[in-house]
């Protein structure tokens, strides 16, 4: 029971981390324009709407 709880907890967190990592470009390339973390973005101002749409 304890084994299953621990495995589920830490493996769940690792799977979550891996899932979040593959969505971020700065994992592979880091430059001046590297996008910030999604959590950080949420707190920032919303991007301006596209003029063409």
């Amino acid at each position: 029971m304890v084994d299953i709880f621990t495995l589920a907890l830490t493996h769940g967190l690792m799977a979550f981390a891996a899932w979040r990592l593959i969505q971020r470009d700065e994992l592979d390339e880091e430059g001046e324009a590297a996008p910030r973390s999604r959590w950080a973005k949420k707190r920032g101002p919303a991007p301006a709407p596209d003029a063409d749409s």
């Binding site: 967190l13 690792m14 981390a17």
Partner: protein, 454 residues
């Protein structure tokens, strides 16, 4: 069986995610190297060469699919390769060929991976991801052991961890040292994470993890673990913001914890001071003396597991009875093939003076590099808030805790140690590259008027 499927499913998921970003395969290897899921499962999972599959995937992924921009080869990585070559040579001439090759089988992988890891850790997020995976992988074993300790499953050599094994990360003294060394890394992740939300839940998990890590030495009754805790306590005094508050709170917590410690644990810890009466501790001193003599005869090292050549007879002090009936006797004990129980003597016996010197240089440079990074960022920012300062500090603390634990346990080639070394190389080379670039940009973009021109 269910566990096997769960673990295989998890590894399959990591391999699948790696198709989008091959770096995930490096994380998968870190996970497998620490947790050793093939030891947790029962049947199915053991039929896969998990370590080999992920190692090949990680290496091929980097070689064929990954960009090499920013990959640097540092001096310490070269030192690792020198140590590897030297170990290969002493294995060829090893006194005990069978066990030497068995040890070589896992040591070369740990060393190659350490030299390779920094090449892949080119970005800040990758460094963070690697630290996060190390923390969670060690956490898998530590949280499990911590919970079992709370429910009273502990005792020296008795705490049943995730796997029915008493070797590698599942050996009591080794996991105690590693769990304590992981604490500063876990705290760094909680403070600087960009993968998990910076939320009270992250801190709650980290607090639980740190508590579990502290319980591992209690659960395994490993004396080394207690020494590691004390070392970490002192090291943290150097880096915490509110020193007096921390010292007071930590001392209070320690005093509050004593009544809850199991009797068996307290008795075993008391033998640290009066180590003469303890066979495990007194054989250590004899084995160390033997190793010094052995190295004089074999200055190039006797190869892996050279300790099997030893055999000695010595006296140990045994006290019987109580009060007036108390008797102290010297009892003669003969033992053969006593392990080194110290990483430093392990290297001296197995790799000779040269191997020991290379290993010491590798470790010493790591401590020094981290110290110089700490100074650099403290000077740059005027405070300790940057992630680089935090990581250099955490890696240094983890490393020092490990090196002190290593005095009493033969863990000179453990993959965990070499992951720390790999991370240090990565952080060092990342800072040289990125900070150097920023500094140059500052110079060319905004030239400062020099006093001579003004």
């Amino acid at each position: 069986m269910l566990k096997d499927l769960f673990l295989l499913g998890f590894i399959g998921l990591l391999l699948l995610l790696g198709l989008k970003r091959p770096f995930i395969w490096v994380l998968a290897y870190i996970y497998i190297d620490i947790v050793a899921p093939q030891k947790i499962g029962w049947g199915l999972i053991q039929s896969f060469q998990l370590s080999l599959i992920t190692f090949v995937a990680a290496f091929a992924g980097w070689l064929l699919l990954d960009s090499k921009v920013g990959s640097r080869f540092t001096f310490r990585q070269a030192l690792i390769l020198v140590l590897l070559a030297w170990c290969g040579m002493t294995t060829l001439g090893a006194e005990f060929q069978d066990s030497a090759w068995a040890k070589w089988d896992w040591v070369w992988k740990a060393l190659i991976f350490a030299a390779f890891l920094p090449l892949t850790l080119r970005t800040k997020l990758r460094i963070e991801a690697a630290v996060t995976f190390i923390v969670l992988a060690v956490g898998t074993i530590a949280i499990n052991g911590g919970i079992k300790t709370v429910f009273g499953g502990g005792g020296y050599g008795e705490l049943r961890l995730l796997a029915d094994e008493n070797s590698g990360m599942y050996e009591g003294s080794i996991i105690s040292t590693v769990a304590i060394a992981t604490i500063p890394l876990a705290l760094w992740v909680a403070r600087h994470t960009s993968i998990f939300p910076r939320h009270w839940t992250t801190w709650a998990f980290t607090a639980g993890l740190v508590f579990a890590c502290l319980l591992i030495p209690v659960g395994t009754s490993a004396r080394t673990g207690l020494i590691c805790i004390l070392v970490l306590f002192v090291l943290l005094l150097r880096s915490v913001r509110y020193r007096f508050l921390y010292a007071g709170a930590a001392s209070l917590a320690m005093m509050a914890a004593v009544p809850f410690l199991p009797q068996e644990y307290v008795e075993r810890m008391e033998t640290i001071v009066g180590f003469r009466g303890d066979q495990s501790a007194s054989t250590r001193l004899v084995v160390w003396q033997w190793t010094i003599d052995y190295a004089k005869e074999h200055p190039l090292g006797g190869g892996f597991d050279a300790y099997r050549a030893n055999s000695f007879t010595y006296n140990t002090v045994v006290t019987t009875g109580e009060g007036a009936m108390r008797r102290v006797e010297y009892r003669e004990v003969t033992e053969t093939a006593r392990a080194y129980h110290s990483s430093y003597f392990e290297l001296l016996g197995e790799q000779g003076y040269f191997g020991l010197a290379v290993w010491l240089l590798l470790q010493g440079l790591g401590v020094w590099h981290m110290e110089s990074l700490r100074r650099r960022f403290r000077r740059r920012d005027g405070d300790n808030r940057s992630w680089q300062w935090g990581l250099a500090t955490a890696l240094q603390q983890a490393h020092l805790v490990y090196l002190v634990g290593a005095v009493f346990v033969g863990i000179a080639y453990q993959p965990f140690l070499f992951m720390l070394v790999g991370l240090q190389c990565a952080l060092w080379s990342y800072v040289q590259r990125v900070e150097g670039r920023e500094w140059r940009a500052k110079l060319t973009g905004k030239p400062r008027p020099s006093p001579a021109m003004a």
